[in-house]
Amino acid sequence: MPNLWILIIIGVVAVMGFVGARQRALSSGQGDIRNLHSLPSFYGTNAMLAGLIPSLVVLALWTAFQPLVIQSSVTHIIEADQELSDGQLSLAMTDVRRIATGLELAIESGRLDLDEVMDMRADVTDVRPLLGEMGVAVGSDVTPRDLDAAQRFVAMAQTGNLLKTVLVIALSVLGTAFAFVRTSAVFRARIAVERVTMALLIAAASIAILTTVGIVLSMIVNTVEFFRLYPATDFFFGTRWNGTSQLGVLPLLWGTLYISVIALIVAVPIGLFAAIYLSEYASPAVRSFAKPALEVLAGIPTIVYGLFALLTVGPFLLRVFGSGGTFGVDWMSGATAVITAGVVMGIMLIPFVSSLSDDIINAVPQAMRDGSLGLGATPSETIKQVVMPAALPGIVGAILLAASRAIGETMIVVLGAGAAARLSMNPFEAMTTVTTRIVSQLTGDADFTSAQALVAFALGMTLFVITLALNVFALYIVRKYREQYD
């Protein structure tokens, strides 16, 4: 039975439980809700939750894990006669899965029944035309081994689905019935419902932890796998990268840092001065127009900046600095370069720096400004000698956060920075970054067992650790600063 039907049945049982338990509570309190411990709807909700939660949890887990169990069991059949490499195995599994899909379709459409499918033998029946009839194209003739595995696949899936249906519906009915029986005037339904609600709230809050654990686990497992294929020292200290046999991270880190530094050189002065002007000089009218206008820059998706770098800024810089350009210097040979990506990323970071700094400057107590102005300092002297020193830790924190954004930024560098990994000082050359390489190693039909694909996880881990360290450090500085004036 498909999951949709199971869900509908569970839903109907839950609604019946709600109505039934509510009714039972009312009648147990002689129709007067003052005799009940809780409001009638709590009794209903209690019965509903008792049926819904266990059955939904089981349904979700079963649906998630059944394919894994079947997969491992079928793998045994395929590997029974010979050892296969991971690549061959995954190819064979794909074949088996296609055959199994065809067989399932045949059963569903009533062309065959389950017993007929189980009795099929590859040397007797020609399976391929049958599968073709079902709209499943198989590359070569079906071998007995594959058919065996596919039959096992189909059989297990059928039994599993049947068991799942029975178990889930039974759980839903039993849970509801249990809650229904417990329902009486003295039963503390509200306490029970609130306890369940609280558990759900905690579960939702824990997803943040699960996500972090998921990120770290998914990267650590694959990174460890990568370091078994490729020595860690070569990865961390290698100065060459070609994407296949030489996988040294240093050129990528260099490109990343170089572009980030250029981005910060663009973004920090503009963002900082904009924040100072907006918070210290601007009239409310200017502020109410300029601040949202600058923040529009932050709301634009990075793919737009990427295209802007590739098709507008890059060609423009090429016209200025390229051969036959405005300055007559031949420094730039292609539109994609460190400076292209850096400048565009800087534009993207302006609102980031300006709104963070704005908050921090505004948090400096007015009394400090008043004191300085009262002693005869000009506004700019007040800002330079009083406000800025007080806000400095926070601003450093903001710049570090901007740096972490720059390091993790992907689309601008994918489109604007180029693909050549090199250790060079020339900002007009194309260079590549950690994020760009993650994308290029993992797009397309990646085979997850090769060092070329796994290196992306090691790169991701490096990126994650660097940005995490920057964020933690930045937050530490910001927090430490806040304590001074609160």
């Binding site: 998706p301 000009t378 330079k384 994650f464």
Partner: protein
């Protein structure tokens, strides 16, 4: 206040060795200080103007390069094909080529003395469209049918100014004399420009037929993803914020959650893509390029944003509301769900819409779960299959176009960006309106 010059206070009886200070003459030092004040202010104004200039430049380059994608150049032809001609065309090896030749012959009669190759270079390859039409409408055979067929992408580029006459001087794909012919056809009303509906409703197209490419299918893919994101991140985010803001005791577990949320908000988006690839595709075996997987990844990415804004709006509800509810006998849970949550709802919705807008424009994680390079040629068959069928998403589609070689795809990419920004703008305007109308100041 700027005129105070402390060191120059004259001492009585000391003579006039130091310059006499007066409120009416400005001392050099004051002048210096005032100049530096003006400079400093000018830096600030320059910074803001630069920021706004970048914004204008960005908007200008999007509009100027993207708007042409919304029009297309079509050639208008009236064809009267007989059954015999159709049969003959069907019997050749290159059927669509035969249909194209029929059309070129018709155009040649209208235009008079021109070589058929030139016409072909102008009209491109409309054979398949013609053939599909006649296969679908056999009644039309023998009658006169007016077709509006998109021209070759270079001709389209010529009329939009993307391709110049000088640039084509040595081209064999479209010669200068072809351009003369195209100009003539425009004067005679055969070639004209019209609004390109196909760009809004169409699907990705192959390199041979770039004029047909449209963003419609990937808009649908984006909608599926946004549905998943909304359905998951709103309830989970609100539940998590309620727990952290209203119930959580101060202990190590809740500290851990807090630290995790603030860190996840700053994790680069591509890392979420790696998580999606390793967990949802590699481990859980979900299909690549499926909007469901994209939605799940974007949900994890959006959750911190939604949690942070929801907590802020819960915090903005004054404690007196809670106290009043508790005072008339509500349980803690009831006070939160019946009183605090409804009052915080506008703020929560605003935060959710902004989070969704962010997710809609996010590209990097989608690259890793296979939404790029995939050619989404048709709409999903049923509503339910749309979640698991391979599809693209708007930003991924734009990236795919940007990575193509043909110039016309760049135009499509800019046009796609306009469509994307229109969606984002609408969402943000809705958020602002919600905030203005419903947000209460306590």
């Amino acid at each position: 206040m700027t005129d105070a010059t402390a060191s120059h206070t004259p001492q009585p009886g000391q003579g006039s060795e130091t310059a006499k200070s007066s409120l009416f003459t400005v001392s050099p030092r004051t002048r210096r200080r005032n100049a530096s004040e003006r400079r400093f202010k000018a830096y600030g104004i320059t910074a803001i103007l630069l920021g706004l200039l970048f914004l204008c430049f960005l908007v200008y380059s999007i509009l100027s390069k993207g708007l042409p994608a919304f029009t297309r150049t079509v050639a208008e032809v009236e064809l009267t094909l007989t059954q015999a001609q159709i049969d003959e065309a069907e019997s050749t090896l290159l059927k669509t080529g035969a249909y194209r030749d029929l059309m070129i012959a018709e155009l040649g009669e209208v235009l008079g003395d021109v070589e058929p190759e030139a016409i072909q270079r102008i009209v491109g390859n409309p054979g398949a469209m013609l053939r599909n039409f006649y296969t679908a409408n056999p009644d039309a055979i023998g009658t006169t049918v007016a077709f509006e067929l998109p021209t070759a992408s270079r001709v389209d580029g010529y009329f939009k100014g993307r391709i110049t006459r000088e640039g084509q001087a040595n081209s064999t794909f479209l010669t200068p004399s072809d351009l003369d012919l195209a100009d003539r056809m425009q004067e005679e009303g055969i070639i004209k420009r019209e609004f390109n509906w196909q760009f809004l409703t169409g699907a990705e197209a192959s390199d041979d037929n770039p004029v047909a490419a449209g963003i419609g299918v990937s808009v649908v893919g984006s909608f599926y993803m946004m549905f998943v994101v909304l359905a998951l991140s709103l309830p989970i985010g609100v539940a998590a914020s309620i727990y952290l803001e209203e119930f959580a005791p101060k202990n190590r577990f809740t500290d851990l959650i807090e630290v995790n949320i603030s860190n996840l908000a700053a994790v680069p988006s591509i890392v979420f893509g790696i998580l999606g690839l390793a967990f949802f595709i590699q481990f859980a075996g979900l299909p690549r390029s499926a909007p469901l997987v994209g939605g799940l990844v974007l949900t994890l990415m959006t959750l911190p944003t939604i949690i942070i804004s929801t907590r802020a709006s819960l915090r903005a509800v004054p404690p007196s509301i809670r106290d009043a509810a508790l005072g008339v006998g509500a349980s803690k849970m009831q006070s939160v769900f019946h009183h605090v949550l409804p009052l915080a709802l506008p703020g929560i919705l605003t935060g959710t819409i902004i989070g969704l807008a962010q997710a809609l424009g996010e590209t990097a994680p989608l690259l890793l779960i296979g939404m790029v390079g995939f050619v989404a040629l048709r709409y999903p068959d049923t509503i339910a299959s749309g979640f698991l069928d391979s599809n693209s998403a708007m930003p991924a589609q734009i990236y795919t176009w940007a990575a193509r070689a043909d110039q016309i795809f760049y135009e499509k990419a800019w046009g796609g960006i306009i469509v994307l920004l229109v969606f984002l703008l609408t969402m943000n305007i809705i958020a602002v309106i919600l905030r203005r109308r419903f947000e209460r100041r306590w």
